[in-house]
Amino acid sequence: MAGIDLVQLRKAYTVDQRRIPILNGLDLSIPEKAITVVLGKSGCGKTTLLRLIAGLETPDSGQIQLPGNQRTAFVFQEPRLLPWLSVQGNVQFPLKRAEIQPDETRWMLRTVGLTGFEQALPHQLSGGMQQRVALARALLYHPTLILMDEPFAALDHFTRVEMQQALLDIQQKTGASILFVTHSIDEAMTLGNKLVILAGGVIRSAYTLTDPHPRDLLGSEMIELRRRIMEDINTH
C-alpha cells in the first residue's frame, strides 16, 4: 500500500466576512507503516490538516491522494464517546457484528489499562480513561491509517508514557500508518519516524528519525534536534 500524498492543499475559513487562510499550498508525503508527527503552534492548521484527510472538510484547492483500500480511524482531541454505551460498547462501536471478537476486545482494553471497566458508562470514567477508550476504539477498528489529534494531551505523565509505548507496540504489530498531531516536542521525538513542522500554512521543515525505540531524548543528537525544531516553530 502506498502512502498519502498531499499536493498544493489550500484551505481558508470565513469568520465575520473575513477570509482567514489556514493552509497555503501545503505539500506533504505521509509514508506508509510509519508514524508521522505534525508539530506547530496553536492555530497553524494541524487539526484542519487531519480533518481534510479524514474527509470531514473539503479543501478549497489541491489534492489528497489516498490509497484505494484505506480504512481510517480518528482519535479526536476530546473522546467523543457515546454516553449511552458502556466502555465495551464504545470500543466495539465502529465494528460490524461479524467483526467483533470478544478476546481481542478484552486484550485491547487490557492494553489501554481498562480491564474491570468494561461495563462502565463514560460519565463514570475520568477524562484520561475516556481518552483511552477512544484510543482503544480506533485501534480495534484495524485501520490502515490512524489520525490522532493530540490524543494524549489530557493524560497524566505516567499514563501518557504508557500510552505512547502501547501505541508504538500496536503500530509495529499492525503496520498502520499514523499521522499524529501534538504540541509536545518530546512526544514527537519519542514517537515519530518523520517529524514535520507546520507554520504559515505550509510545511516549514521535516526531519526523519531512524533511531530505534525507546529513544534517549537526552542524547546530544536529540538535544540538537530539539533545538532546531524549537527554532523552526518560533521563528515563524
Binding site: A54, G55, L56, R71, T72, A73, F74, F76, E78, R80, L82, W84, F93, P94, L121, H123, Y141, L147
Partner: protein, 260 residues
C-alpha cells in the same frame, strides 16, 4: 434514626398526611351543615358509593373501556409521530410546507373538533380514537423532532469517520440521542390523551369514565360524580406510573443518570 426508615415509607408519609388532612377538612366542612349534601356529599357517603360501584364492577368496566381507548389512540399517535418525524429529518425541506399546518392544528383543542367528527364518523369508537390521536400526536411529534435534531454533531462526525452508513448513523447515534426527548414526549402525550378521552366520552359515548360522570350528573348523583373524578385522577396517575416503569425498564441504567 430517620435515615434508617425504609425509603418507601419515607417517600409515602408526606403524601398520606396531605390526603388525610384534605379528607379531614372535607369532613369538617360537611359536618358544619352549611352546604347541602346534594352539592357536596360527605367523604363517608362518597366512600360508600365507591365501594358499592367497585363491588358491582361498574368502575372497573368504565376504567377498562377508557384505558383501551387511550392505549389504541396513543399507540397510533406514537407511530404517526415517529414516522412523520423521521420523514421530517430525512427531508428537511418538508418542514417549510408543514410548519403552518402543524402550528394551526396544534392550536386547535381536539375537543372542539368533536362536532365535526360526529358528523363525519358518528359517535362510534372512530371519533374517540381520532380525538386521542389529535391530542397525543403534537406534543409527541414535536418532542421526537427535537430529539432527532439535537444530537451532538461531534458524535455524528466520529461515526462518519468510521464509515458508518446513513442507516447505521441513525440507528446507533441519532435515535439513541433522541431517546430522552421521545420518552418525555410520550409521557406528556399520555396525559393529554387521558384528558381528551374523558372529554370525548362526555360528549360522544355510552361507556367510559367520562360518560359515567355525565350520566351521574344527569341523575343528580353528586357522590357518583365525585367517585368518577377520583377514579379518573387515580387511573391517570397509574397510567403515568406504568409508563414511567416502562421507561425505566427500557432506559436501564441510563434512567439512574438523568435519562428519565
Amino acid at each position: 434514626m430517620r435515615n434508617d426508615r425504609p425509603p418507601l415509607f419515607r417517600g409515602m408519609l408526606a403524601p398520606i398526611i396531605g390526603i388525610l388532612a384534605l379528607l379531614l377538612l372535607w369532613h369538617l366542612v360537611c359536618s358544619l351543615g352549611h352546604i347541602s349534601p346534594y352539592v357536596l356529599p360527605s367523604p363517608q357517603k362518597v366512600g360508600q358509593t365507591f365501594l358499592k360501584m367497585a363491588r358491582s364492577g361498574e368502575i372497573l368496566r368504565d376504567v377498562l373501556v377508557s384505558f383501551r381507548r387511550v392505549i389504541r389512540g396513543f399507540g397510533i399517535a406514537f407511530l404517526l409521530a415517529f414516522l412523520l418525524a423521521v420523514f421530517r429529518i430525512a427531508v428537511p425541506v418538508s418542514e417549510r410546507f408543514t410548519a403552518a399546518f402543524i402550528q394551526f392544528f396544534r392550536s386547535v383543542p381536539p375537543i372542539s373538533l368533536i362536532p365535526l367528527l360526529i358528523l363525519w364518523c358518528g359517535i362510534g369508537e372512530q371519533t374517540k380514537t381520532i380525538i386521542i390521536i389529535l391530542a397525543a400526536f403534537f406534543p409527541m411529534y414535536l418532542a421526537i423532532v427535537k430529539g432527532f435534531t439535537s444530537y451532538d454533531p461531534k458524535l455524528l462526525e466520529m461515526a462518519r469517520v468510521f464509515s458508518c452508513s446513513p442507516l447505521r448513523l441513525f440507528l446507533r447515534v441519532v435515535l439513541p440521542s433522541a431517546v430522552p426527548d421521545i420518552l418525555l414526549g410520550m409521557r406528556t402525550s399520555l396525559g393529554y390523551a387521558w384528558r381528551a378521552i374523558i372529554g370525548a366520552e362526555m360528549v360522544a359515548a355510552s361507556t367510559g369514565l367520562g360518560h359515567m360522570i355525565l350520566f351521574a350528573q344527569q341523575m343528580s348523583r353528586t357522590d357518583k360524580v365525585i367517585v368518577g373524578i377520583l377514579v379518573i385522577g387515580i387511573a391517570g396517575s397509574v397510567n403515568d406510573w406504568l409508563l414511567g416503569c416502562l421507561i425505566r425498564r427500557l432506559a436501564g441504567r441510563r434512567a439512574a443518570h438523568g435519562w428519565d
